[in-house]
């Protein structure tokens, strides 16, 4: 399994995302924002950070990077794509996922270990979890409030496309406590919390996040 991990100017979590891929016995393939090239990978992770300094809006400039044009085309053909934090913001700006992420409702940057409930374990990235399982992974974002219009929220809820929901107090004002969503096909997933920081109890709060990368392994091998 070859998994591309994109680096933009201002990306922070590409190295941890690559490490998570290797923990799941995958080969991590660095992808550069300026290249029109996915290097033949089976899946792509768009990692967290502050691409282009979050200028204009988070993800608004990264969304037009050359490599993203390839990611959009591949995702629409069914390639598994995971957007974490800034990566989620980029996928939303690219219209691969509906809605938008806005400034946290209390304005504070939130940095803490966060419980999430797995609401959909049928996506390319979540089959290793039990439906309804609760996992603990870091959340670290200033613009993580998920917003969408009422019709979009109804569609997401009705089609089971909310993948993760915050447990307990809503950390950022996200509508319906939404932490992560998927597209209609289930190959594209975006979430604000960071599963790649929770793959080994030595270096994270848990190893609960590793399940996302092991799920990908299953879906790629099956395909």
């Amino acid at each position: 399994m070859r998994v591309g991990v994109i680096t933009f100017p201002g990306t922070l979590d590409d190295v941890d995302a690559q490490r998570a891929v290797r923990y799941a016995d995958g080969e991590a393939v660095p992808l550069w924002h300026g290249d029109h090239d996915l290097k033949g990978v089976d899946a792509v992770v768009v990692p967290g950070g502050f691409s282009y300094g979050d200028y204009l809006r988070c993800g608004a400039i990264a969304r037009f990077a050359p490599v993203m044009q390839e990611v959009i085309e591949a995702a629409n053909k069914g390639m598994p794509v995971l957007g974490i934090c800034n990566g989620f913001q980029i996928l939303a700006e690219a219209h691969l996922l509906p809605g938008a992420l806005v400034r946290n409702h209390k304005l504070h940057f939130v940095c803490r270990d966060q419980w999430l409930k797995v609401e959909n374990n049928s996506t390319a990235w979540t089959t290793r979890y039990d439906q309804g399982a609760e996992i603990l992974v870091p959340l670290k974002s200033g613009e993580g409030g998920y917003q969408a219009d009422a019709q979009t929220l109804e569609t997401l809820e009705g089609e089971g496309r909310v993948v993760f929901r915050y447990v307990g107090e809503n950390p950022n004002g996200s509508r319906n406590n939404i932490a992560g969503i998927t597209n209609a096909k289930g190959n594209v997933v975006g979430l604000m919390p960071h599963p790649e920081h929770a793959i080994d109890a030595l270096t994270g709060p848990t190893d609960d996040g590793l399940g996302m990368f092991l799920s990908l392994l299953d879906s790629v091998v099956k395909a």
Partner: protein, 79 residues
């Protein structure tokens, strides 16, 4: 050359915590009577004469604003 102004504002139904923080600070600073503040973005573009309105609208809608959460207006002004 012409100057074009693009104003981008959060949609009314979208929570604007930055505007609220400004509104909450004003009474503390001794300014009374301000009941609400909305915070947005103001862009000034220097534009060649052959750029048409449709192109300007496309720039605003696809890049300067995110129509999921923001409204935008484009107007030509005296430079």
């Amino acid at each position: 050359m012409a100057r074009v102004v693009v104003d981008v504002m959060p949609k009314p139904e979208i929570l604007d915590p930055q505007g609220q923080a400004v509104a909450n600070a004003l009474p503390r600073l001794g300014f009374d009577g301000i009941t609400a503040v909305r915070q947005g973005k103001h862009f000034e573009l220097e534009v060649a004469d052959d750029v048409d309105d449709a192109t300007l609208a496309k720039i605003a809608e696809t890049f300067l604003a995110n129509p999921v959460i923001e409204d935008w207006t484009v107007r030509r002004v005296e430079a």
